[in-house]
């Protein structure tokens, strides 16, 4: 399997790469802006992971990467900034919320297509001060905080999902399992 990791100047990128259920050699890391300029780098890729990072997806220049992956019907997992990019690509909006960085939250998962082993409450680590709002079909919210902030979305037919929290953090006990669940669903 060939995985493209879209890197966005974050200090958590390699935690995500290390948490993927594949060998490190199967992952190609490329800066988000570079992929956006050269969408041919999506050729021959089996799965795209759009990683976390500061600013917002528009300023980071990565919404076009998600749109191109949609046209190619490529499996895509967005984490934090990548989740927000997935939302923007499907018409959702970003708003400021009370910043939460380095803190765990209880997150409630509803039944989903791409994370079938995860239903009910999970503890996950959060790093964000922006969040998606106005999420509408074909995206669906599949997890949220107790105060109603969208924490995960999936596409209703394409193999695409976004996670606002950090499954890669040491403080997300079942984070790696969650990512593995997504990869298993693609088989």
């Amino acid at each position: 399997m060939r995985v493209l990791f879209v890197e966005n100047h974050d200090s958590f990128s390699l935690n995500v790469v290390d948490a993927l259920p594949v060998d490190r050699q199967d992952v190609v890391l490329r800066p988000g802006r570079e992929v956006a300029r050269d969408l041919g780098s999506l050729d021959g890729v089996d799965l795209v992971v759009v990683g976390p990072g500061p600013t917002d997806p528009a300023r980071a220049g990565i919404v076009g990467v998600v749109q191109s992956a949609v046209l190619r019907r490529l499996p895509l997992l967005g984490i934090c900034l990548g989740h927000q990019a997935l939302g923007l690509a499907f018409g959702a909006k970003l708003i400021r919320v009370a910043p939460v960085h380095g803190k765990q939250s209880a997150i409630t998962f509803s039944r989903s297509r791409l994370f079938p082993s995860f239903v009910g409450r999970q503890t996950m680590m959060r790093y964000h001060s922006l969040a998606l709002t106005g999420i509408a079909a074909p995206l669906h919210i599949i997890a949220q905080t107790d105060d109603g902030i969208a924490m995960a979305v999936e596409h209703e037919s394409l193999p695409m999902a976004g996670l606002q929290f950090h499954p890669d953090s040491f403080a997300s006990p079942r984070g790696k399992e969650l990512i593995a669940n997504f990869f298993e669903c693609l088989k």
């Binding site: 100047h9 974050d10 200090s11 958590f12 990128s13 390699l14 935690n15 790469v17 290390d18 060998d23 490190r24 990072g53 500061p54 600013t55 917002d56 400021r96 910043p99 960085h101 380095g102 803190k103 680590m125 790093y127 964000h128 001060s129 922006l130 950090h166 890669d168 953090s169 040491f170 403080a171």
Partner: protein
Amino acid sequence: MKLAELEDQPSFALLGPGFGGSPFLLLRDLRPASGADPLLVFARFEDAGAGALKLAAATVRPCAIDLDDNPQPLDLVLAAPDYASQVGQIREAIACGDVYQVCLTVRALVEQARGAELLSLMCRRGVPRFAAWVRLPDGSEFVSASPELLFETDGRQVHAEPMKGTASPSSSGVLEASEKDRAELAMITDLVRNDLAQVCRQKTIRVANQRRVLKLPYALQTVSDIVGVLDDGKTALDVLAALHPGGSVTGAPKQAALAMIGQLEPDLRGAYCGALGLLTGERAVFSLLIRTASRSAQGWVYGVGSGIVYDSDPQAELEELRVKLGALIASSAE
């Protein structure tokens, strides 16, 4: 050995117990060298870890030292005129998603002091783990009372110990209960895992301790322990290149935090927040040079800083800086 005897030496490094001395190691007559055993390694905050200075010593020996009997208490004043406004700018950058935490530092000036006096003040309530007094061949000089291990390696094993979270020693239980301090440390723990992943074998990095309290004479601090197995061919110098400057003195994400530090802090940090290491055989130990005074034309410049997060209150952060001044202002004032 009397500490004051070192004042006349052209170059030396006196290293505390954390570097393997008993209690101190004295390296004399330092000269640049690409390899030596032991090898002393130093990087300023602004240096790339890969460009660290490497030094060999003409003589290396363990030694005990006699502290100055009655070092004069110091009158330190923090120069932080724009501090509240700087904290405000960082909080706004956090709110719009540009950064998650920034370690903001300020300086205190000690106009007249000898290095021996400073080290004596720092050691008189117990020798700090990474106590150090270093004069480099170029004449630059610093004294450190650092309690922070940047990382150590032993063969292929690597261990990093970022420090984040501070309280006064009398405030029992407050630090442990603080969600803000817990989050500051957790952020840097994730950052250090990421930095170690550049040099470690895949899926070998783990957090051995999420949070434990270190008791210092003047403060309580929290640290985490992150361990991993180095990739084939990676050395302690590669680890330095990956970790320096340490995440606990930058903030996260590192690149964005360093850009804000560059905008907000008027002076370079230099040795302060740099790295000092000793490579001996299969082992290497690097301290992160916090609680460190550097000699300048005006006197000794002592830096103190703290991690600014969205929950930060400028008054509380200034109080934390005063606690950290306690490493230098000894008990006579208490």
